[in-house]
Symmetry: C2
Subunit: 599 residues, 2 copies
């Protein structure tokens, strides 16, 4: 079996870096000691090996298609969703008493990472359902919960999030799908939604859309948006009846061809009932829970995809002989394996540093989410603030840099990487959409610089800086890491200055100006954040390296230290150019240029 | 008709920047005044509009396929090749007396750019034939020329370059295809070749492979490689007879699906005759002519593809309303066009700066090639040296940065860009291979730092620096460009220092060490080179802006100045991080790491 994800690394991050067992001090998680966590991870690997990974390429070749109103998907999809449901993964975070596992989010995400690395295009269906069910669970009535959630948990019904409309891609203020109240308590929905992932397919009996619409007479903009449950078939008198949700087609996509993106028409030919979740006009606030989860999820999909590419490239580098060292021109000698070439090693280290750096950040975010939910008082609040601050980075860094990492993975294979004899070409097509899903990178840049930096009077940034300083302090005391600790200290100081300059600009001019390079600010902040995650990992690894280790364990920890060195030597210096540019945002170049000059 | 390339920009580069009319002082090119050049460019546009662009998407959907030993391509291919042949483009550089046009290379490439932007997957067939014919013309006997070239020029026969073998991808030393001399003067060829572009297809009557093989008993390594003409059908007694070249299949590729990459078996079932080109064991030297042309050609394909993506994104940005300015939260107001957003403008300027910066460099290289061929003495030698130095950059910068530019083009379209409703997804798949074709970027990094920098005692670099200093001096005298002139001066000075440090390292240690980051050195050198090309263009534009101009002309020149400002503000600063890393190559990180630590 090919490798697509490292179980050893997941255990390292959970137990050695995050010490996630500490969550068992919360009543909800008492069952989750180290052993329980490892069992869950290994069970996830089993499912991924059996039901997901073998169908990754096939689901691309035999892609989803639309015919006469129906959407057909690869036969493996049904079995895969069932396996994930039966393994308890869709209901994982819910209560024991309703068949859930009360699983900490950080463990769920460690499992998810394996599923996404094995076959994100299959796993995504199940975890979209999981997130949709969680939204009903959190904000919906008991009746909504009991009507819809059990069949979502058992994998028979698909869940979706239905936000996007043709005229209102990223601008949710502008959605026009309408909801008309009826005397029976439900609403009549009319409108259309596009790019609805998992929006319709034959592997499930029903599809449950968590849908944003505007109740007639509601205020304009985001303040007038409400959240509805809109099923494809609605339960009526113990039967399922058609609910006026028709599929106009599915989108042809460059990648993720097994993962349907549907175009839905609501209430066009027959009545479409929507069931209000919570109170009217609170829809966007509710949906933000799912969106924030989906953002971490998108980061995980990207990281999983980049992980599969990394191991495929690493395998090739160990098998393919090509060329000789520059110091050896003797053509009578055999060619060397390409992993002998420094440039190939650089490319592999880049991939490793992106994959494992991203994963460390994502699991840290999940851990914060658990603390925010279970801890009390300031601990909960601080965790929540940190999570809010880091979410745009945890979504965007893996998406952007993961795309580059897969590209570099392809480069390791040369011409072979461009052919469909290897999985790289599919991984390259598949990963690209993550920088678009759930808010483009540009939108997350605006979120970080325009909102997250200043929220709670900058408290989130302050908390993050404290965390980073703690890591710097720890690493500074470990000789081989001391110079990197100093580098991170300087980078953090520079980040502080750049941020202050931009905020000064915000107070002097219209917000267009200080936000003009927000995308680059996100890249800048993200790179420093991942450097921190690497130094933290290297610190843990250095401690372990003192003991007498097996060869394999020694290699694992040494790999961590080298990857950290790589990141500080090759990636962190990229912040020099970014800081320079961000220091010149005040030139208003992109704000002032007349559009006609871009020709 | 959609735009895919700017004719105005081609005229700007040819006439205003390069002043290519000066070539008409050479006897070979006397006919090529401004008017003749413009007529050729407009004729090229006509062909591209009619025969190439309309089939770009179709050739992807109805891709090339292999069935029972034959390769089938889209019906548009035959008509397209014919149109290019009849337009005189395949024979363009050959003499008038044999039906050629004695066209300067710089003009040919300006035409080619339009063809590649319109549909590289069709045009590439014709210009592979052009390059193969040119190789026979330059190094082959008169008999070979008269036997093969006329049918290549008229588009009936396809030409190829057949280098790659399964066990010897980038390592030509290790090719094993053999050539056994016969008493009749021809050789018997046995072996196999892979990834042979245009290697077999039904739109032509014959395929003429320019093939590298090893004559039995030849020395090992590259010194024992000879060049052969190996046709699919060989002319015998005025007939074409089968020549033992069989096609085992074609490769499934992520992109360029209309452009066949064949797997060929030679001399397996029947005799395969090869006709030696020039003398034995000189094959690699001869082939380098074609490879160097193909490298510039690859840069042009990448730039053309990125150009098509830029104009598609620009069009979308002018048509798509989405969101409002950060300073305007009034949702009752209409959404703005996305070109109003600073981040979208930044993304468009990035694309423009990559496309037009790359094209400027590529046409400059073609111009040098013309001078090297037609000038005399030192002028020819200097042009040749400069061309040699710049070739790895002209191949790799457009390939690497063009790939990023197309990705950013896709990002401008958001979700729509990922769907096949727009051409971006195909352009994204198609462009990626250019960083692999004709030597991966890593190989060109080694070529630049390991060979080109030091050749002729560093004379090429010295010549380039003189050119750059001249541009700096000119721009320094034009107020709005003066600060950029200073920035380029500093960047050049830093480049000089970084290079000296690396060469010092070369003298202290095995070459593996100083070459370890050669790929980054290429990116570093390339970015400064493109900055120079931009400053040169901006200098010309500033001079023109003094005159009374039409609105359109004013916008064109202002666009040049703004794109130059963009490049200096956003791209050139990336050299800071690269210079930092290259200053630390001596840490031997990627040379020393044990492979087992990359896990």
């Amino acid at each position: 079996m090919e490798t697509y994800a490292s179980l050893r690394n997941l255990k390292f991050l959970l137990h050695e870096v995050l010490e996630a067992e500490q969550l068992s001090k919360f009543e909800r998680f008492t069952d989750y000691d180290t052993e329980a966590m490892d069992m869950a991870l290994e069970a996830a690997k089993q499912i991924a090996d059996t039901y997901l990974f073998p169908y990754y390429r096939e689901m691309d070749r035999d892609k989803a298609y639309y015919k006469e109103g129906k959407v057909y998907t690869h036969p493996a999809l049904k079995a895969g969703i069932q396996a994930l449901a039966e393994g308890g993964w869709i209901a994982a975070i819910d209560d024991f008493e309703v068949g859930g596992q009360q699983m900490p989010g950080v463990l769920l995400h460690a499992g998810l990472f394996q599923f996404y690395a094995a076959n994100a295009n299959l796993a995504a269906y199940a975890f979209l359902t999981q997130a949709a069910a969680n939204l009903i669970r959190t904000f919906g009535s008991e009746e909504l919960y009991s009507t819809f959630v059990p069949n979502m948990y058992n994998g028979k019904w698909q869940g979706t999030m239905a936000l996007t409309e043709p005229q209102a891609g990223s601008s949710l203020s502008d959605i026009t799908t309408s909801a008309e109240p009826t005397e029976d308590g439900h609403y009549l929905i009319r409108g259309q939604k596009i790019y609805i992932s998992g929006g319709d397919h034959a592997a499930v009996d029903n599809v449950v859309h968590l849908l944003l619409a505007r109740i007639k007479g509601a205020p304009a903009g985001t303040k007038g948006i409400s959240l509805f449950v809109v099923p494809k078939y609605r339960p009526e008198h113990e039967q399922l009846v058609s609910n006026g949700v028709t599929t106009a087609g599915i989108f042809g996509k460059m990648g993720q061809k097994g993962y349907v993106a549907a175009h839905l028409m609501l209430g066009e030919q027959e009545s479409c009932y929507g069931y209000l979740v919570g109170k009217p006009h609170q829809g966007l606030r509710f949906m933000f829970q799912m969106m924030n989860e989906a953002r971490i999820g998108t980061g995980l999909v990207a990281t999983g995809t980049a992980s599969a590419a990394y191991y495929a490239a690493l395998k090739y580098a160990h098998e393919r002989p090509q060329g000789r060292h520059p110091s050896n021109k003797d053509v009578s000698q055999e060619q060397v394996l390409i992993i002998e070439h420094a440039d190939v090693r650089r490319m592999l280290l880049f991939q490793k540093s992106v994959v494992e750096g991203s994963l460390a950040l994502l699991l840290y975010c999940s851990y914060l989410s658990d603390l925010a939910a279970e801890a009390e008082g300031e601990a909960a609040e601080n965790s929540h603030l940190l999570l809010e601050l880091l979410t745009p980075i945890a979504k965007s860094y893996p998406s952007e840099m993961g795309t580059q990492a897969v590209s570099i993975g392809m480069q390791c294979l040369g011409g072979a990487g461009y052919t469909d004899d290897f999985p790289l070409e599919q991984l390259y097509r598949d990963i690209r959409v993550n920088a678009i899903y759930e808010g483009t990178t540009g939108i997350h840049g605006m979120d970080l610089l325009g909102r997250k930096i200043t929220m709670a009077n900058g408290k989130a940034v302050k908390l993050l800086m404290q965390e980073i300083q703690q890591t710097i302090k720890n690493a500074g005391a470990i000789e081989p890491l001391a110079s990197m600790a100093r580098d991170l200290g300087m980078a953090t100081k520079q980040l502080h200055e750049v941020t202050l300059d931009l905020l000064a600009l915000a107070s002097q001019d219209v917000p267009e100006v200080f936000l003009a390079d927000a995308t680059l600010y996100l890249e800048y902040f993200g790179t420093i954040t991942i450097a921190w995650q690497w130094l933290r990992q290297a610190g843990v690894a250095m401690e372990k390296l003192n003991a007498g280790l097996s060869e394999e364990e020694n290699e694992f920890y040494q790999g961590k230290v080298y990857a950290c060195r790589y990141f500080f030597a090759y990636e962190l210096p990229k912040t020099n150019g970014l800081a320079y540019r961000l220091g010149h945002t005040k030139d208003r170049l992109t704000v002032d240029i007349p559009p006609a000059f871009i020709n």
